[in-house]
């Protein structure tokens, strides 16, 4: 016979165990009654219950402590604390520790029946929610990182290895190689993935602001601090904090950061109360931290704390084989965003893209594709939609804004087959302006070679 749910009742009073157990069985629950915390913890190692009703006052381990230890074994167990008398202190202690609710003895039959029923509904909803989020996470993950080359396969393997652990990760690589993307992939692969990933770009903030951002501040901590503010470490509770550009922080902040990583507690700026924080740390830098240590600009102890597991991201020039896949990925992405039906890149353009130096790495490539998508015509991106380095370098005259404007206008006119009205429309300028510009450039109806 199916039951409404599995209940555990822990109370050292036999009459309570018997009467409540019997009452809930009649209600249709599968009930187990136990008389002390020790028995409950032993049984919980091998069995699972949906809801536990725990008496607050018991010989030996009390209900609050039992609830805490039960959650260490089964974090999803919903615990309802039964108290002999209503007091704010016990209620707060129970709820602060993660109890689902508390009830006062003797229990009102209607109230306890509803409470347990609601607790079970809450548990089922939570379980369904987790299942849905896991499904979504599975679907969303592969899209983020693109690449099949040897160096990238190593990166994926590293992410897969370190993701599910709670280890601190240091991601190094040139600017634009996708360090934040890797941090997000690690977070997604971890048990913390349903908690926030909080990213902070350390290099973008002054020392004082960074401290306040990381650790929060109390009201009045400094001029303008009108309200208490939580720091990123507090916001990342249960999740991951991503410290980007870690090589750019001051020695003072490095010391504070080291303390947080060691003690797992923070003190808000202007405050004196320590706050326990639970987070995973992922740091990233494009700087050579070992060199900074030699120069006395980076604390070695902080480096060792961060460098538990290292992932080095290759520069794009070291994985040119991935460029076509990346380009196609960005074309798909921007065609959706811009609502354009551009589905491919001409082979000649792709060849050129693979030969570019890409000093700005994937970020630069993404920007180049985005720009090409703006000017490109459906259904294909062509060579002329991109601005290639060799093209700029070889054409010494195309260095000024005026030169660039000239080249661009002539190309658009050419694409429009010399139709000035159409070209003016494309360029979003009036026809007279275009006429004057063409006259100035010495344009004739003969097709003009722009390169």
């Amino acid at each position: 016979m199916s039951t409404l749910g599995k209940l555990l009742i822990v109370d050292d009073e036999l009459t309570v165990r018997d009467s409540l157990g019997k009452w809930f069985r009649e209600e249709g629950y599968d009930v187990t009654t136990l008389e002390n915390a020790g028995d409950a913890l032993t049984q919980l190692a091998t069995q699972r219950w949906d809801v536990a009703l725990v008496d607050i006052k018991m010989h030996g381990t009390d209900g609050i402590e039992l609830q805490r230890r039960m959650h260490e074994i089964d974090p999803e167990l919903l615990v309802i604390i039964m108290t002999g008398y209503a007091s704010v202190e016990t209620a707060v202690a129970a709820l602060k520790n993660g109890a689902y609710d508390y009830v006062t003895k003797p229990l009102d039959p209607d109230e306890i029946a509803h409470l347990v029923k609601n607790a079970l509904a809450h548990r089922r909803t939570t379980q369904e929610n987790v299942l849905l989020r896991e499904t979504v996470a599975e679907v969303a993950r592969p899209e983020d990182m693109v690449g099949q080359s040897g160096p990238m396969r190593k990166v994926f393997e590293a992410v897969e290895t370190v993701g599910p652990t709670d280890a601190t990760v240091l991601i190094t690589g040139e600017s634009g190689t996708g360090k934040e993307l890797v941090a997000r992939a690690i977070h997604q692969a971890s048990v913390r993935r349903f908690h926030p990933l909080v990213a902070i770009h350390c290099g973008a903030l002054t020392e004082t602001l960074l401290e306040s951002e990381l650790f929060g501040h109390e009201k009045g901590a400094f001029t303008g601090a009108q309200f208490r503010k939580k720091g990123k470490f507090e916001i990342a509770e249960g999740g991951t904090i991503f410290l980007d550009e870690i090589g750019d922080i001051s020695l003072k902040t490095q010391t504070d950061l080291l303390r947080v990583l060691q003690e797992r507690e923070i003190t808000r700026v202007g405050g004196n109360q320590t706050i326990k924080v639970d987070f995973r740390c992922i740091a990233a830098t494009n700087k050579d931290l070992e060199k900074l240590i030699e120069e006395g600009k980076f604390r070695p102890d902080l480096f060792y704390r961060l460098n538990v597991f290292r992932i080095e991201l290759p520069a794009l020039r070291e994985r040119r084989d991935d460029i076509p896949a990346l380009v196609n990925h960005f074309v798909r992405k921007f065609s959706l965003a811009m609502n354009k039906r551009i589905t491919r890149v001409a082979p000649a353009a792709m060849n050129q893209l693979q030969e570019q130096p890409w000093a700005g790495n994937v970020r630069e490539l993404e920007n180049a594709v985005e720009r090409a998508m703006v000017v490109g015509q459906e259904p294909e991106l062509k060579e002329q939609d991109f601005i290639f380095k060799s093209q700029v370098a070889s054409n010494g005259s195309s260095k000024t804004l005026e030169d660039m404007e000239r080249a661009y206008i002539l190309r658009v006119v050419e694409e429009c087959g010399g139709n000035q009205s159409h070209a003016a429309e494309m360029l979003d300028i009036d026809r007279v302006t275009l006429y004057h510009k063409l006259k100035k450039y010495g344009w004739t109806r003969t097709p003009v070679e722009t390169r």
């Binding site: 016979m1 409540l20 009452w23 009649e26 209600e27 003797p106 009102d108 209607d110």
Partner: protein, 184 residues
Amino acid sequence: MKQLQLLPIGNVDDGLLKDLRPAVEETFQVSCKVLPVRLDPEFAYHGERQQYHSSEILHRMQSFLTEDSWRLLGIAAVDLYIPILTFVFGEAQMGGPCALVSTHRLRQELYGLPADPNLFGQRVIKEAVHELGHTVSLTHCDDYRCAMASSHAVEWIDLKESTLCTTCRTAVTPVKQVLSGRFF
């Protein structure tokens, strides 16, 4: 021939017991008799709570069982409790011979409303069928109209009917086997 026996507990109106008989006879297809004795519940009184311990009364009722008892249903006018709950409308031995119903909280007057004898009688019948249902191992029913539906307030009792739903009725069929004498 085994019978369903009704035991008055404390000061219970005889007329109420007489009205109850045909209703339970029909539901459980068994003859019903009001016992000519009365149980004084004072032994189960809790001074501080000003209520009567239901389980203790249920336990004492065992001594009233005879060879002819199929089930023994106690009808009490006093307010019942079990230690962990503020009150109970009744209590039963799951799959056992004894059950108990309190009429105290079934009266409209308790809720500041004018007396309604008809409604009161209906509530007593529903609770009697409900507790007797537990003695034949029925647990609470999901169908809110069934007499076995869980009800912790009179409003819920009023929602349900005094009869069992098809599912619960089917589960009670083995009662006939019990009546043939195999129960004890």
